[in-house]
Symmetry: C2
Subunit: 329 residues, 2 copies
C-alpha cells in the first residue's frame, strides 16, 4: 500500500503531515510519499526515527494557499504539492491521496487530473461525522453548490457504496435534507431529487429535517454543497462557541472550576466521541482515484486516520462498486 | 397595548400560553386576548389570580395542528385560533399577535389576512439568537425557501429596521451567508444578491461563512429560507445532542457526577445565555401587522417575552420604518 500526502496542506504544515505520516508507518506499515518543500520535510523528519525506507520525498517548489481561488491556482501552480501529488495518483504510482489543503483546489485538480468515474456527472465531498448513535455520512459539503436532482441521486449511490464498504453498514439508510418530512415540502429541485431517490434501489427513507442530522437517524444525509458547507461550518462553530462559553462561565466561579476539574474525564470522553480526527477526513467521491480531504486544522492523528481511510478506500475497491452500481441504472 | 395570543399553538397549549399571558399581565400590564378553546382556557385561568379585567377570551372551535399543510388548513379552518386571532389584528382590534403554532399556517394566514406592507415582495421570518457577543438576527428561517435576489435585499432592509428599533443597534452590520468570503464565491443567486446589497444603503459587510454566525461577527445574517431553516434545526439539535451526550458521560462516572454538581452554576448561567426563550420569538417581517412566531416547545417565559416583543414592535413602529426605507429605493 502506497499513499501520497500533500505535506504542505494544513495550517501547521508540514509538521502535522510528517508527524501523521510517521504514526501511519508505525501503526499501519504503509509506504508513503510526501510531496512538498523538501528541506522543510527533511527538517521535520529528523525529529523521528529514520523511516527513509518507507518514505519517499518529492519536492514541490510551489504551494497553493488556503484562500487562493481554486481553478486559477491549480492551472498556474503546476508545481504545487497538490498538483504533483495527484500526478502520482494519475500515473498509478500511489494508491491514495491525502491533503489537508485548499479543498476547492484539491477538488479542481483531482477532476482535471484523475477525471470522473464512468457515469458520474459531478464529484461530491462526503464527511463522516459523529452522532449519538455512531457515525453518519453527509454529502455534499461543498464540491457542487448548485447541483441538479440527478447529482443528488448519484451522491446517494456513491455514499451508499462508501457506507457499505468503509463503514460496514449492510443497507445504509438514506435521507434527503429538507425543510419538512412531507413529500410536498421543499423547492422544485428537492422535489425532483425526491422522486429520483424514491425510484432508486437505495434504502431511501424520505425527507429528513435538520434536527435529525446529529441524532443519527439515518446513515446518509443528502444535501446540496451550499447547504452542506454551511452545516459543516455552523456545526463546528457551535461546538466551539459552547465550549468557549462554558469555559468562561466556569472560570468566573471557583466552585465551578473545581467541579469542572472533577468532571473533566466526562468532558474528555465526550470530546473523543465528537472528535472529527477519529474519522480522518472527507472522501472526495466520484473521481477516478482515492482522495481524502482533511481539515486545515488537522492534528497528526487526523492525518494518520486519513491515510488509513485512503488505504481502505483502495482495499475495499469502493470505486469499482460505485461504477457497477451506476451502470445498473 | 392589546396583544392577541393564539392560545392553541404550542405543544403544551393552552397551559403554556395562559401562564405566559398571566406573566405578561403581571409584569407588563397589557390587555390580552386569548383565542382558542374557551373551556380549556378558562380551566387554565382558574390556576391564577382573577385577571378577567385584563383578559378577553375569544372562542375558536378549530385548531390547526403542527403538521397540517399550511395553505390548505388555513383555507379550510376559518374558525381556527390562528385565523380568528389574525382577523382581530386585521380589524385593528389588537396591536400585535403571538403564536407558537404551525409556522407555515401563521405565515400563510398572516399574508392572506393582513397582506404585505407596501413595497414588500415576500415576507421573511427573522430569529433573534444568542452569540458570544450578544444577540444577532438571522433572516429568513423558512417563510420563503426559493427567494429571488431582490427578496434578500428586502430582508436586509427589514431586518435592519428591526435591529435598529428593537435591538437598538445604531448601524447594524449585515452579512450574506455564503460558502466563502470572496465576492466570486457562491451560486448565481448569491452573487446577484451580493451586488444588490453592495449597492444598497445598508451597512453591508459582504459574504460571511457559516462559522461566523454564532461568533456574532455581524448583527444581521441573510440567507434563503431553506438554508435558514436547516441552520435553525441543526443548531438546536447540536446543542441538545451535546448536552445529552455530556450527561451520559457524567452519569457513568461518580467523580464526574460530583464535579458536574459543583459546576452546575456555570451550566445554568450558560443555559440562560443561550436561552431562546429570552428572545421570545421570531418576528414575521413584511406583513402589514405585528406577528411574533414562537417555538412549539415554548415555555411561559418565552410566550411572555414574545408578547413583550410584539408590543415593542408596535411602540417602535418598525413597520413604518420598513415602508419608508423601501420607498427610498
Amino acid at each position: 500500500m502506497k499513499i501520497v500526502i500533500d505535506a504542505m496542506g494544513s495550517d501547521a504544515a508540514p509538521g502535522v503531515e510528517v508527524s501523521g505520516a510517521v504514526q501511519a508507518i508505525e501503526e499501519l506499515g504503509y509506504d508513503l510519499v510526501l510531496v512538498g518543500d523538501e528541506a522543510q520535510i527533511k527538517t521535520e523528519l529528523k525529529k523521528y526515527k529514520d523511516y527513509s525506507d518507507k518514505i519517499t520525498i518529492i519536492h514541490a517548489p510551489e504551494r497553493i494557499e488556503m484562500h487562493e481561488p481554486a481553478a486559477i491556482s491549480v492551472r498556474r501552480k503546476r508545481h504545487s504539492s497538490i498538483v504533483l501529488a495527484l500526478e502520482l495518483l494519475k500515473k498509478e504510482e500511489a494508491d491514495g491521496f491525502v491533503s489537508a489543503g485548499n479543498t476547492g483546489a484539491v477538488v479542481c485538480a483531482a477532476v482535471l487530473s484523475l477525471r470522473l468515474l464512468p457515469g458520474v456527472e459531478r464529484p461530491g465531498i462526503a464527511i463522516v461525522y459523529p452522532t449519538l448513535t455512531g457515525a453518519s455520512v453527509l454529502i455534499d459539503v461543498g464540491a457542487n453548490i448548485d447541483p441538479k436532482p440527478l447529482h443528488m441521486l448519484q451522491y446517494g449511490i456513491m455514499a451508499d457504496a462508501y457506507a457499505r464498504y468503509i463503514l460496514h453498514r449492510p443497507k445504509p439508510s438514506v435521507g434527503l435534507l429538507n425543510v419538512g418530512e412531507e413529500e410536498s415540502k421543499g423547492t422544485e429541485f428537492i422535489k425532483e431529487a425526491h422522486i429520483l431517490l424514491s425510484e432508486s434501489k437505495l434504502n431511501f427513507v424520505g425527507n429528513i429535517e435538520g434536527r435529525e442530522i446529529f441524532a443519527g437517524n439515518v446513515d446518509i444525509v443528502l444535501c446540496d454543497g451550499f447547504v452542506g458547507n454551511v452545516i459543516l461550518k455552523v456545526s463546528e462553530s457551535i461546538v466551539d462557541t459552547l465550549f468557549k462559553a462554558l469555559k468562561q462561565e466556569i472560570k468566573s466561579n471557583i466552585v465551578a472550576t473545581l467541579g469542572a476539574a472533577l468532571a473533566s474525564s466526562a468532558f474528555t470522553a465526550l470530546k473523543k466521541k465528537m472528535d472529527y480526527s477519529e474519522y480522518g477526513g472527507a472522501p472526495l467521491l466520484g473521481v477516478d482515484g482515492r482522495c481524502i480531504i482533511s481539515h486545515g486544522s488537522s492534528n497528526p492523528k487526523a492525518i494518520k486516520n486519513a491515510i488509513k481511510v485512503a488505504a481502505e478506500f483502495k482495499t475495499q475497491d469502493v470505486n469499482k462498486h460505485i461504477v457497477e452500481e451506476l451502470e445498473s441504472y
